[in-house]
């Protein structure tokens, strides 16, 4: 393949895929091209996108976090429980829940650096632990539904004509794009992911950087879970099963390398949109959920292969 074509494809591949998908989708379904549908898509992906920001930070840092779905679920039930049973005001409930999410991240990162346990294993463990805790907290898996009236603001509310989840998503992206590109620690996330030994040699506090990454990742997973619970108007311990897959797929699709040191949040956002579009058109065409799972898996595989082919060969 001609080098210039490859280079062009590489830079704009996400936009190209996006445009192609919109074209094909609008041909294939008459319900696709509507403002309502688009708002639906973006609102739907907002939770995944927020969690994917966390996944991107962690993967760029050279790690992985398998516990995001469980943390989201646990956060959702905790948020619901705090408001329904402890009658806490919403803001306090949110802050406590996010703090708990941050603590999970601290546990993930802390165990990893203190005992040199691979992140795959640590987060696999916390994935199970917090899924279990979500069930325990709800007394055996019953959703927490006795939530107050304002509970669904985050998930179903609007500010003006814009759904609240979208606003939160945009804010999260702005904050983290700034963090990764304009702050020292944001740069260190890339450094440690790109070459941990070199970073250490030049005075970067590698352990601290890793912990920061995992704290951020889990806090964002927590936020995603809070919004989801609000959207469902209840705390569901079984929720967020698909979050892990979607967050990681969006991140890889967006160009973040699994080996660490490179990736962009804009890419992840585009990746999340592409996944959202895919899910949307399959649903509009009444494709069974099981077939959707197969498609999602194929998309992830294709994304990784495409990435390897384009990144390795072009310069």
């Amino acid at each position: 393949m001609n080098l210039r074509i490859k280079s062009f494809l590489k830079t704009y591949r996400l936009i190209i895929i996006l445009v192609l998908m919109i074209l094909v989708s609008s041909l294939v379904s008459e319900h696709f091209l509507s403002l309502n549908n688009f708002l639906n898509i973006i609102r739907q992906i907002s939770m995944v996108a927020i969690i994917a920001v966390g996944s991107t930070v962690i993967i760029v840092n050279g790690g992985i976090d398998l516990s995001v779905g469980s943390v989201a679920a646990f956060s959702g039930v905790l948020f619901a429980g705090l408001m329904a049973n402890n009658h806490l005001p919403m803001l306090i409930a949110i802050l406590i829940t996010l703090a708990v999410g941050a603590v999970v991240g601290f546990i993930n990162g802390g165990v990893m650096v203190s005992f040199s346990v691979p992140p795959f294993i640590v987060t696999l463990a916390t994935m199970y632990i917090f899924r279990g805790l979500a069930y325990i907290y709800t007394g055996g898996g019953y959703p927490i539904s006795n939530v107050p009236k304002n509970f669904d603001i985050l998930g179903r509310g609007y500010i003006g004509y814009i759904p609240v989840p979208i606003i939160i998503m945009v804010l999260v992206f702005i904050i983290f794009i700034w963090f990764l590109n304009y702050t020292k620690y944001g740069l260190y996330i890339y450094c440690v992911g790109g070459n941990e030994t070199a970073s250490k040699l030049f005075g970067v506090n590698v352990k601290l950087v890793k912990i920061v990454a995992y704290v951020m990742g889990s806090a964002l997973a927590s936020l995603g879970g809070v919004i989801l619970a609000s959207r469902l108007n209840s705390g569901q311990p079984a929720a967020g099963e698909n979050f892990l897959f979607m967050a990681i797929t969006a991140t890889i699709l967006g160009g973040t390398s699994l080996t660490g040191g490179e990736g962009t949040l804009v890419g992840t956002l585009l990746g999340a949109v592409i996944l959202g579009l895919l899910s949307n058109i399959l649903t509009l065409k009444n494709v069974s959920y099981f077939y959707q799972l197969v498609v999602q898996g194929l998309v992830l595989m294709a994304a990784v292969i495409l990435d390897v082919m384009l990144v390795k060969k072009t310069s």
């Binding site: 450094c191 070459n195 070199a198 030049f202 040191g261």
Partner: protein, 225 residues
């Protein structure tokens, strides 16, 4: 097993010293001691007449001793600027300004890299080596240690790197280079420090010796004048 036995090593201001010896002679051990990667079982280090302790790489850096190891310790996924400034960033990063400074540093060392926004992994071996050297020599250093700077390079790039190293001397730096390539060593070095089996074989000024003599000192053969 003794890596270094009673070695007395001197480095003078503003000179290029070639540290030579066969594999296992103790060259790596010696520079690891100076750069703080290893703490010796005995012996002392003096810098400008004052006794100093170098127990870790940070100590060495504080004493303005910088080492460029063979693997270069570059972050491949980042660009030239970010690599040069590694560990020297201030709170908020202003890329444009840093790119300008990096550009000046690269140009000042006569390094040929057309686009410094390129990720370092796409640069040639010589360019990468140059970036590693640029990083080591900027920000006020006194002593630079280069471990096999030309080992991975072709003829043309080696010559360029050697010219860059030679130019560092003019900036007032003291340089230790480890190399197996005696031709390269003779091209830029002022003195030679020869190790064999952990022991000091001898120290020679360039003018008073030859490649043959150095080879004989390294291998332990007899030198016939």
């Amino acid at each position: 097993m003794t890596a270094l036995d009673n070695v007395n090593f001197d480095l003078y201001k503003n000179e290029i010293l070639a540290l030579v010896g066969d594999n296992g002679a103790g060259k790596s051990t010696l520079i690891k001691i100076i750069s703080g990667a290893i703490v010796p079982d005995g012996g002392e280090i003096f810098l400008y007449g004052k006794r100093v302790e170098i127990n870790n790489p940070i100590d060495a850096k504080k004493l303005e001793i910088e080492t460029v190891y063979q693997d270069l310790a570059l972050i491949d996924t980042l660009d030239v600027t970010k690599n040069i400034f590694l560990g020297r960033e201030s709170g908020l990063l202003f890329h444009k300004r840093r790119q300008e400074i990096a550009r000046k540093i690269i140009d000042g060392l006569d390094i040929n890299i057309p686009d410094i926004r390129e990720k370092v992994r796409f640069l040639s071996g010589g360019q990468r080596q140059s970036v590693a050297i640029a990083r080591a020599t900027t920000f006020g250093k006194r002593i630079i240690i280069l471990d096999e700077p030309t080992a991975a390079l072709g003829v043309r790039e080696s010559k360029h790197i050697l010219e860059i190293i030679a130019s560092l001397k003019a900036r007032g730096l003291s340089i230790i280079i480890i190399t197996h390539n005696l031709e390269h060593a003779f091209f830029i070095s002022d003195r030679f420090f020869v190790l064999r089996n952990g022991k000091e074989v001898g120290v020679k000024e360039k003018e008073e010796t030859s490649v043959d003599e150095i080879v004989k000192m390294i291998t332990g053969g007899v030198f016939v004048k």
